[in-house]
């Protein structure tokens, strides 16, 4: 195996397509099961950030997902975009994991892959905790950079400099490697996958598969070690609005002044 300067690992998660989640007409509840599964949109930005680092630094980019075998298409998408390899971390033992064991699993996988940088999305469009990237960093005792809008690789210093979005402004922070980076959604425009990569990803590529045992965390995952649990879920009823469309600005002004009288 040839050695590269950096190994970059990208976390990608499969989620129900937010635009396609419908309401079950019989029960009036959300029908997520029938929505097509897609890559969490912010993760495409994470892939782009990883590949943009590889454009300037000699690096190997590996995508990883923790999920059922059904999630393999998100890895194929990552391969098509330009990742060198991909890992499917799958095991029934993971069922019921909250962000604590989820980030432990991804932390161990990143360590096993020899990650210098882990890239992730800001948050997912399904459970949207945004807690997994800091969780990975915390489990491994690594540096972290969240809400990142730009990256400047500094291989000669073995550091990564990033611009973070902070309340009311920005900061530039340099972090020692290894570092976990969560990119701000919408800041890295994902490159299109070339046709030959798509064909390779769909027809010939097979991901590496790891179980909890392979990561030596068999007793540290799943429902039992998860501190939180979902106690219940209710569908939020949309707020009733009048939905009236008026013709002129004067009509609209009339309604606005109503608010104060």
């Amino acid at each position: 195996m040839t050695t590269v300067t950096w190994t970059i690992v990208v976390g990608v998660k499969q989620v129900p397509d937010a635009d396609e989640v419908g309401i079950d007409p019989d029960t009036g509840r959300l029908d997520r099961a029938s929505a097509p599964a897609v890559m969490n949109p912010p993760d495409r930005g994470a892939l782009e950030a990883a590949l943009s680092i590889k454009d300037v630094v000699d690096a190997r980019v590996v995508a990883m997902t923790m999920g059922p075998p059904m999630a393999t298409p998100v890895l194929e998408e990552a391969i098509a975009m330009g990742c060198d390899d991909a890992v499917l971390i799958t095991d029934r033992a993971f069922a019921g994991s909250d962000t604590w064991p989820t980030s432990l699993t991804l932390a161990r996988a990143a360590e096993q892959l020899g990650a210098d940088i882990v890239l992730a999305g800001e948050e997912t469009t399904d459970s949207s905790t945004g807690q997994v990237p800091p969780g990975i960093a915390a489990h491994n005792g690594w540096a972290q950079l969240t809400y990142v809008e730009a990256v400047e690789p500094r291989p000669e210093e073995n550091r990564l400099v990033a611009t973070r979005d902070v309340e009311g402004g920005h900061e530039r922070v340099a972090a020692d490697l290894p570092v976990v980076v969560a990119v701000a959604y919408g800041e890295f425009d994902p490159r299109p996958a070339p046709l030959h990569r798509k064909l390779y990803a769909e027809n010939d590529f097979e991901p590496i598969e790891w179980t909890a045992e392979d990561l030596d965390i068999k007793d540290e995952v799943g429902l039992d070690v998860s501190p939180t649990s979902v106690g219940g879920m209710e569908t939020v009823q949309p707020v009733e609005r009048k939905g009236e469309v008026v013709e002129t600005a004067d009509d609209l002004a009339e309604q606005i002044t109503e608010v104060y009288s």
Binding site: A18, V21, D98, T99, W100, S103, E123, T125, D126, S128, T129, G130, Q131, P134, G135, A137, A138, A143, L145, V161, R164, D165, V166, E167, G168, G169, H170, E171, R172, V173, A175, D176, Y185, G186, E187, P227, T228, E234, T235, V236, P238, V239, R241, K242, G243, E244, V245, E247, T248, A249, D250, D251, L252, A253, Q255, I256, T257, V259, Y260, S261
Partner: protein, 345 residues
């Protein structure tokens, strides 16, 4: 005698409600005072102390403000290593305080800062961490019931942390009301505790090279809001004119923030602020679910959009189909001449 549970934790050892008071260079984030007010309800129900936690440098004023806003006690970690904010020193310090003092509930503002470091406390202490909460309560057994939107706000999930402690949560800014400051509150030297600082600069793995803070507007308390979206294509003037005519604050969709037209502190939605003004005017905003989540508690919603099929019209009380650049000035002119729009003090 209480005993450890299956997770090896004796939950009765844990008491008090902690609220993290987030400050940067002496400036306190408004969400901190919202949490202190909400935390007061929880601590009274539990009959335990409400404790404010402040991390930073030169914190005397902030600590006193926390007492005057209802904290029974304040824990202060004061050291140059904490200014400006970095995840690793904050996380390590907060973790040590949790391990030494064992609070049962810890509330942290769901700002970029709060959501950045909270995991560095929850992971090593194996605490439950609920993200981006919009409703909280405690049940009769003292268990925190934290409710949070998921799936873009279509679902409200109740998250519990039954066997682990502390029960930590990040809370979305703007969902609770801050209380008033009471300068007559009596406190003494014992009310403020300087804790041991466990972090040394040599342990840190990050370095802030520069930090530039400009616009830190607080839109969460605004009574009237004019919000712009991608549809204004960088031309803020018409919307600002409209905002001025009705004394409204400017806000924005994430698309407008990402373009750099409006600062992130004015973003409304799932990853921004929650607002509930009596009047919300959406200008060139399509009405994506992540945006609606931050403004659907508004009184009257008005939409200005040139696409008659834009979803925002279904989520508005009154709308007009048209170009914002024409509608906004017309509207501003009519409204500016109407004395009813003047704000009564």
């Amino acid at each position: 005698m209480s005993e450890p549970n299956d997770a090896g934790i004796d939950v009765d050892e844990y008491e008090d409600v902690w609220v993290f008071v987030e400050e940067h260079a002496g400036e306190v984030m408004p969400v901190s005072w919202e949490l202190l007010e909400e935390g007061k309800q929880l601590s009274e129900k539990l009959d335990q102390d409400l404790v404010a936690l402040v991390i930073g440098e030169d914190l005397d004023d902030v600590a006193e403000a926390a007492l005057e806003r209802g904290a029974n006690r304040v824990l202060v970690a004061d050291d140059p290593v904490f200014e400006p904010y970095r995840a690793d020193p904050y996380g390590a310090q907060f973790r040590a305080m949790v391990e030494n003092r064992k609070p049962t509930i810890v509330l942290i503002g769901g700002t970029h800062t709060g959501r950045d470091f909270a995991g560095r406390v929850a992971v090593p202490t194996h605490a439950g961490l609920t993200a981006d909460v919009t409703e909280i309560d405690v049940d009769d057994d003292g268990l925190l019931q934290a409710r949070r939107p998921a799936f873009g706000g279509d679902i409200l999930a109740t998250i519990l942390c039954e066997d682990h402690r502390p029960q930590m949560a990040t809370i979305r800014p703007g969902v609770f009301e801050a209380g008033d400051r009471d300068p007559t509150v009596a406190f003494d030297a014992d009310s403020i505790t300087d804790v041991d600082v466990v972090v040394d600069e040599s342990d840190t793995v990050s370095e802030v090279l520069e930090r530039e803070i400009g616009d830190t507007a607080d839109i969460t308390e605004a009574e009237r809001i004019v919000a712009v979206g991608a549809g204004v294509e960088g031309d803020l003037e018409p919307a600002l004119e409209l905002a001025e005519s009705i004394d409204a604050k400017l806000a924005a969709s994430r698309a407008a923030v990402d373009e750099g037209w409006v600062d992130g502190s004015r973003q409304v939605g799932q990853t921004g602020k929650t607002v509930r003004p009596e009047l919300y005017v959406a200008v060139g905003i399509s009405g994506a679910i992540q945006h609606l989540e931050g403004m659907n508690k508004s009184g009257t919603v008005i939409a200005i959009n040139n696409d008659p099929n834009a979803p925002i019209f279904e989520h508005a009380d009154y709308g007009i189909v048209g170009d914002f650049a024409a509608v906004c000035p017309d509207l501003a002119e009519t409204l500016a001449s109407d004395e009813r729009t003047e704000v009564t003090p």
